[in-house]
Amino acid sequence: MDILYAILVDPFVQMVELPDFFLQVLWEGFVAGVLYALIALGFVLIYKASGVFNFAQGIMVVFAGLTLVGLHEKGVPAYLALILTIGVMGLLALAVERFVMRPLVNQPDIILLMSTIGLTYFLVGFGEFVFGGEPKQMITTELGLPTGSTAFEIGDGGLLILQHIDIAAAVIAIIMVAVLAVFFNKTRIGRALRAVADDHQAALSVGISLNQIWAIVWFAAGIVALTTGIMWGARSDVSFALEIIAFKALPVLILGGFTSIPGAIVGGLIIGVGEKIGEIYWGPLVGGGIESWLAYMIALIFLLFRPQGLFGERIIERV
């Protein structure tokens, strides 16, 4: 009975008794979820346009952050470093398209997945080779991002502390999704992107250049990665240890479905909030640290009921 009480009742009692703490946990989960969603967004962009499951997205996040900080350390002013980093991500997109995607066109999914894991290895080695392996501090103030925090009083004496950088992250994420939505729906290139996502051959036949489109989506994913890198880097250090967050984006994708942008957002929030609440309220029952696998378990259970994800297109199989 004690166990049942500890699992089923006690966590909720704690939530009600300390509402300010609960809200704080919720907020932390929300912010983590926004960042997961941003990584997942990069995945979805590339998956939609080329059917490639881009494993390197998480590493691109770190790589972009590291390039930005590394350039600044070498004496480049912050804003110039930002522009240069965007340039580097553009070059990376071109290189990936030319040397990885183009030769591998029409290969089975698993080969493309493997090639992006190879790319991951390459980027990790390259980034550490150029900028060194030790963790770096993100140049938050130099980029003009807000620091500090605001405290709200809740109930009788409870405090909810919101870091300004987290608020900024949420706002930027929302802006980014809005811009992407406009870009996809209203511009010429965006329409071409959607055409490619729909059917490669049909898109080719109406004169859309696949190579150009792929370079553009990889560049867009690079920009998303840079944003994520700045935001995540501001919360902790920039180092390849962040690689682990890349894996967290996978359950997010599974929840949201590989092809859905709203799915990536909703999935990110569910995973972010779910794992924080699970860790704080249920984690101590089994010794803590369950954050490392809870997200995957949530995704697994969801999948058992909806194998195509929450927003994925229905899978129809034919022989």
């Binding site: 190879g118 390259f126 996978l250 378990m297 199989e317 034919r318």
Partner: protein, 359 residues
Amino acid sequence: MLYRESGQYKTSYIADQAIFPIREDRIGMAIIGLVALAIPFFASDFFLNAIMTPFLILSLAAIGLNILTGYAGQLSLGTGAFMGVGAYSCYKLTSIFPDVNIIILVMISGLFSAGIGVMFGLPSLRIKGLYLAVTTLAAQFFLEWCFIRIPWLYNYNASGAIEVPERRGFGDIILTGPSASAMTQYFVVLAIVVVVTLAVKNIVRGRIGRQWMMIRDMDIAAELMGVRPLTAKLSAFAVSSYLSGVAGAMFIFFYLGAAEPSAFSITLSFQILFMVILGGLGSLVGSFFGAAFIWGLPIVLRAGFPALGLNVGAEVIFHIAQMVVGALIIFFLITEPHGLARLWQIGKEKLRVWPFPYA
């Protein structure tokens, strides 16, 4: 001319169903066997310990993953964790039954891994492809967490790591532990790998293996033709995890000697996945090629830079090695997506018509 099967007539079904029906294959296998037996008498302890033994062990792990991914078509990213299950259960077994021969325990510990593999294989009945790959990540991270958080698994050691105790067998030969000789360990590993590989070869060319391949090629069609997806998929998970478990137990007991939970991290899973992909999906000989390539390349690179007279730090070499491995993986995928096994096949076809360019 060198590799030609013409003139070798089979007059009985037994001869027709032999593992190596072609005489040249048998000769080749005999030569490989002799070389494998002769290596320890010529090579240094370092070569045996740091290259040959882990190569054989990782080949077995790669075969394990190849069963699942290459033969049964179920993508898995959790091999490292299943190896860990084998290692930890072998450690517990030898703590509880110190008198039983360690080789028997290694073979038994694979069964625990197989059980857990089947459990995590259950979702494969509903979930397919990349989605399944992510669910195997659940196994990876959950099991890794167990290795850290369940102190019973490592006998409540303060360090949280498992250390291999000294175990003797076959009279009084030291098989494991720090004072075991490299040669003994090599021979033990060689024997296990050869026996298990032969068993697997017979499984994959028999009824069960054909069922796996049917499921891989088109699961719905296979089901319509009377293959039960439940048994086929779960048996693939079981055999695959068994092999991974045995490989993991050997990895600790005959190679590393001690291990922290991080030894079985996702990095190991990826390493083995690379071995399978580069070696060739659905090929046993490819698993050996892939293991040799992925395990050998960083060693060669590390040895190669000083040999070229380049004086760079160990860390820089490590980074460069990583870059080169990544680039080479992409290069290989582009030039030969079917892996090294395909190159081997092409080589055999060339030998067959040699010295003429065409048959």
